[in-house]
Symmetry: C2
Subunit: 190 residues, 2 copies
């Protein structure tokens, strides 16, 4: 998506080989018009797949996922992060290890909101190592829903997330794919 | 807003005098069409106030705040929760004590995104004791921005949040005001 790539070139900050800051338009300050266009782009890509729900991971995926759900006319499910690991029989629960932040957290999904009849599109902001996306898949599989794919705004194509998901048969749709990055330098995949 | 009140009556679960579950349309599963109408309603209410930014508190306020920002055509700023209290000179920081959850967390705002020229509308899902809203106000005041008001989807009018904010001269716009609540019983303020 050229609009997003242009925005990344203009306002994104490549700190080093691994860290890209997009605080000014995706994470901390959000441009609603850009988010709406992103949502419409993702919805268009998946429009013939009979998606029944959009799911995202709390919290930086909420904005693009909401706009996608709005464009598709389906509910949005927010997979909630929680620090505790208290077992709750009304929830599907899975532990996520974040390499980036070196922390563990639990991701949860109420059993009420997704079931075996659902065909779910996962939307998130970043795909790098794929830990969050993989955890989302684990939760959704517990519900016996089928997965339409994963849409991400920005993929760090030099990290293994995309390959790991593709190896499981998951379609990954990335609006901007970064092939290489270093301080003040971003190279997109053609 | 009648639409929201009807939805609360239909799908909200009053657990006891204090807990109202709106997981199925606001917090966990989100109805994008309802959120859009909520955003438009809030935007209409504040449309003549020259709002420059909408701010919300991570993460359950993001959906209605994004739709409000979209309807007003202004950026959305997400005030970020973080567990640590490491001082950072690029951030405004304040500690929030949650009565409901009996925890402390820190709320932060990058100095880059709001300044003295801004006129900010705060949007959140719930107003009860007003801890989160008061913390958002503290952060925004550090930036010397002016405050247009606080819009919330659901106000528990029997708790002191509204009165505390009104005493500071803050306009509170609540789409649904609950006067009284108990198990399976909700009474709205007329």
């Amino acid at each position: 998506m050229e609009l997003l790539k242009d925005k990344i070139k203009q306002d994104g900050i490549a700190v080093n080989e691994h860290i890209l800051k997009v605080d000014s338009f995706i994470n901390h300050q959000i441009d609603p018009e850009l988010m709406q266009k992103i949502g419409e782009d993702i919805a268009t890509h998946f429009k013939n797949q009979n998606i029944t729900k959009v799911a995202t991971i709390e919290s930086s995926g909420i904005a693009p996922a909401l706009m996608t759900a709005s464009a598709l006319g389906v509910p949005l499910i927010i997979l909630k992060k929680q620090p505790s690991k208290i077992l709750n029989q009304d929830l599907y629960q899975t532990v996520v290890t974040s390499f980036t932040k070196e922390t563990n957290y639990e991701l949860t999904l109420s059993k009420k909101y997704i079931n075996a009849q659902d065909h779910v599109l996962i939307v998130d902001d970043f795909l790098a190592n794929g830990e969050a996306a993989t955890a989302a898949l684990r939760l959704l599989r517990m519900s016996h829903a089928t997965i339409a794919g994963l849409a991400v705004l920005i993929e760090k194509s030099f990290q293994p997330g995309h390959a790991k998901l593709a190896a499981q048969g998951i379609e990954v749709y990335a609006l901007a794919q970064i092939e290489e990055m270093s301080e003040n330098y971003i190279k997109f995949k053609e």
